[in-house]
């Protein structure tokens, strides 16, 4: 008979097996929010610039508005890229986990089928 594992040893073992989340994972959320903010701010800036340039005949103001509008478009593009990068990471991670789960279920099902087939074919053999 084996003696039970001492509590302290079990504690050390369980902690060694413990999965600790990477602190960098928390930063992904921050990037995601930054992407959304940039996207929204860029759109607002571009929209505002359009109306500013149309509400004046002063060429200098129109040029400033044009520059601001381009800046807004650039911010939207960068924001979209950041948002896509971090949202896709999350989605793909989930998708991969889902795929590996589905594959594991499929493998179990196939193994069961094989086992069932083996058993029935053994029964069917003439004696």
């Amino acid at each position: 008979m084996t003696s039970p594992e001492p509590r302290a040893d079990r504690f050390v073992r369980e902690l060694a097996e413990l999965k600790i989340p990477d602190p960098a994972a928390g930063r992904a959320g921050l990037w995601l929010r930054l992407g959304v903010t940039l996207m929204a701010a860029g759109l607002i800036l571009a929209g505002s610039a359009y109306f500013i340039s149309h509400s004046t005949t002063d060429a200098l103001v129109q040029r400033d508005a044009l520059a601001a509008g381009l800046g807004g478009v650039a911010a939207t593009v960068v924001g979209s890229a950041v948002f896509l990068r971090y949202s896709l990471t999350g989605f793909l991670r989930f998708w991969m986990a889902r795929q590996s789960y589905d594959l594991a279920v499929l493998a179990d099902r196939l193994l069961e089928k094989d086992l069932h087939h083996d058993l029935t074919s053994t029964d069917a053999t003439p004696r």
Binding site: A8, V12, L15, L18, I20, P21
Partner: protein
């Protein structure tokens, strides 16, 4: 004896206020360590950091030799870290038996939990049907300890066990704590009133303004130093 809990140069803060300024402390299996100090020294924060409830700003929190800074406190609790907070944390509207029943989430049966609790604290068995809020302070503390023991802890942390209790009751409770430690549990006790806990502690540390000012065996020198820290040094 293996070290189960270790804090290495741990700093922790509440917003911009740094409470722990480089705490070094370790507790081995079967050892009782007393963390003493005046009000506001950072004792409770040290326990909260050790239990994973409060984040470590810098330094290392090692449990069973592994750096667990950033780990989910629920996972640490499941592994065997048990914090009994100041104020006992029992459900005052539930009976003693129902309070113990709440611990069946650990996977143990009600009978198992009650057997261990009532064997260690026979006073609770007599009051099994009584609402916890109507128990005496000492009995409530026994219930809190019994609930903590139901989690089968490897590291047990107690915050101000003696708060509001008669000296005799405190002595008896600490006898139980010493008995728990003898079974291989690493015990870290935070206390403001040092006398009772120093009787059972293997090691004591004095925390003042977020720093361990002194640590070692609880001898007369430490007691004298404690008095000086609490009451001010004679000039």
């Amino acid at each position: 004896m293996s070290t189960l809990l270790e804090l290495r140069d741990v700093r922790a803060a509440y917003g911009v206020i740094t409470v722990l300024k480089g705490v070094n402390l370790s507790v081995a299996a079967g050892q009782v360590v007393a963390l003493l100090g005046p009000n506001g020294a950072g004792k409770t924060t040290t326990l909260r950091v050790a239990a994973g409830v409060h984040p470590v700003e810098s330094g290392r929190l090692l449990l069973g030799g592994r750096d667990v800074a950033g780990a989910n406190p629920r996972d640490l609790a499941r592994a065997g870290v048990c914090l009994i907070p100041e104020g006992r944390g029992v459900f005052p509207n539930l009976s003693v038996r129902d309070n113990l029943l709440m611990m069946t989430f650990t996977g143990k049966s009600r009978a198992e939990i009650e057997e261990v609790a009532f064997a260690r604290f026979p006073a609770l068995a007599k009051r099994a049907g009584q609402v916890a809020g109507t128990l005496s302070g000492g009995e409530q503390q026994m219930l809190a300890l019994a609930r903590g023991l139901a989690t089968d802890p490897a590291v047990l942390m107690l915050d101000e066990l003696s708060m509001g209790l008669a000296p005799l009751v405190v002595t008896r409770l600490y006898e139980q704590v010493a008995e728990i430690a003898r079974q291989g549990v690493a015990v870290l006790v935070v206390e403001q009133f040092a006398a009772a806990v120093l009787g059972i502690a293997d090691h004591a540390a004095v925390l003042v303004r977020g720093r361990i000012e002194r640590q070692g065996r609880p001898d007369d020198g430490l007691r004298t130093e404690l008095s000086a820290l609490y009451l001010g040094s004679p000039t």
